[in-house]
Assembly symmetry: C2
């Protein structure tokens, strides 16, 4: 499988392919006979409901990201977020998680360290997970380098350690996803992620639009896994002027089902510019634009006008458990 | 020995006790018969020379600190600085060290992690240095807690690993000192620091004013160790308005010999305020004040008017080696 495949998919805006085949596309992956309701029905919604998880990635990575993401969560327009356990600003967001148990916080499982001058290593001793490290002793800079070198057994040990570390700090993760999509880069890493998620009874970010490129994916899904109808994630190439229009178009075109809108929130300040000085994609101005859009009245109105209901990973997981499988 | 002792000493302004006994006080610690020249004579200066190392601590800890400290070094009024190896902003200052081999950069050996929401662990696997860690798995918050729990053997392994990590990243340290004075907290830790410094042929920050509280100290000094005449380091309790006067008085009162002036430079920005939000001592405004003073024309004039020569640890080490012992 091409290593870049999932990253390309993940960073594209993906709409539901069709509303004409909801039974096929909105069903959870497992084809057990008892599991014939559509996902929306299992969650107690009508078949044409449009549910959206507005999700901030990368919490714990920088103070700027923590502050903007907390502001986003508290605006009510960001419904969920996920935390990077190996980063130095983890204690700040862990303290927030402990004092805000209602916040929908998952883990952004981290196997890369992408900024050239601000970096981190694994949670486990480096000797135990040497395949995760580049020549400077940090996690790899890119998801493709990481996937090309990672021993899946070491990745599994590391992500289990990240979950344990989160729990030890008082974080009760509501879901899992993968920073930079590293764990979506090949079948072995996908299998690792599913095994760890299932063992911990946690939902993970999966989009049914990934099935074409990863035909093995449906076979990995358990009866309680939830497959997103699509993922909205802004792409490099969108101009600053086109930012709001990109999101507005995506929201107006939203199809019934559950969609996840992935945003990267930070303040464009000295710290964030220092982190991303050579990295305009997902950089400081990018994140400030995301922050401005998702906390805007325009976004709130768009959601209302298009009859979109914000949901959290916790709600989805709870409803799935209730509905049985 | 009282654990707080050296911290109290280190954070006080300390002047030379007397110029009447330069042979006793300016001599290096070793009493070998061949070593009868005063320190200033060995360095090739007249007996009344006033040498000052203006030293910025804590590089690598935060982007704000790196930027302000580099600016300080490049102003020519900060002659030296030292780097914290376990911190996430290390790659930024390591890159600077590689491209600025003339910069006088030592290692600020780090056995504490003092900010409540922004933290780091050791360089070595946690399992190997468990006595260095608090219950949350980071280095201790304070030097007294650290010294009360640290196994000196584990401290030694960790500081040797910090030196190795620095060298692997292309840093050629000119000297060693101890973040928050943790390695100056008791005799066993002092011995550890000296052993590691001697093995690596590196000078360490020691002031002869510490001898009264640590009578064992002279016996630890090797023939090439350099003992500072005193240390200037601003204390909690000095008001913002009194900042410049404090330093100006210290500079006007400087005695012949080598003195180290320890400063903590950062910009008072969102990152630094986030780091130090509950910690005004050595906090964000404190560091901004230090930055403003050491890069000011007033400081430059004070040095000129008082006939003070700025020196680096590298120059001192080189001259010591040349002069033999």
């Amino acid at each position: 499988m091409k290593l870049k495949f999932f990253t390309a998919i993940l960073t594209c805006i993906i709409f539901a392919t069709s509303t004409a085949a909801p039974h096929r596309t909105e069903r959870t992956g497992s084809a057990s006979p008892a599991n014939v309701k559509t996902l929306l029905e299992r969650l107690g919604y009508p078949a044409d409901a449009k549910l959206l998880i507005v999700h901030a990635d990368d919490l714990g990575m920088a103070h700027s990201i923590n502050m903007a993401s907390i502001k986003g969560l508290e605006s009510g327009l960001v419904s969920s977020a996920s935390i990077m356990i190996p980063c130095s600003w983890l204690p700040e967001i862990a303290a927030y998680a402990r004092t805000h148990p209602e916040a929908d916080l998952g883990l952004h499982l981290t196997l890369t360290s992408e900024w050239s001058l601000y970096r981190w290593g694994p949670v486990l001793p480096k000797e135990r997970v040497s395949s995760l490290l580049d020549s400077s002793g940090y996690l790899y800079l890119t998801e493709t380098e990481a996937a090309a070198h990672i021993d899946p057994k070491e990745a599994e040990a590391e992500i289990r350690a990240q979950i344990s570390r989160a729990v030890a700090l008082g974080i009760q993760p509501t879901h899992l996803d993968s920073h930079m999509g590293t764990l979506y880069q090949n079948q072995a890493l996908f299998e690792t992620l599913f095994r760890v998620a299932h063992d911990n009874k946690l939902l993970i970010r999966v989009s049914r639009q990934w099935f074409a490129a990863a035909p093995f994916l449906p076979s990995l899904l358990g009866p309680d896994d939830v497959v997103m109808n699509g993922i909205i994630s802004i792409e490099p190439g969108v101009t600053a002027e086109g930012w709001s229009k990109y999101y507005a178009d995506a929201i107006r075109n939203l199809q019934p089902g559950i969609t996840e809108m992935i945003v990267h929130l930070a303040y464009d300040n000295e710290e964030m510019r220092g982190v991303a000085f050579d990295h305009p994609n997902w950089g400081s101005e990018w994140r400030q634009r995301d922050f401005q859009f998702v906390t805007s009245d325009a976004f709130r109105k768009l959601l209302q006008e298009n009859n979109i209901k914000l949901v959290t990973w916790r709600e989805v997981a709870k409803l799935m458990k209730k509905s049985g499988s």
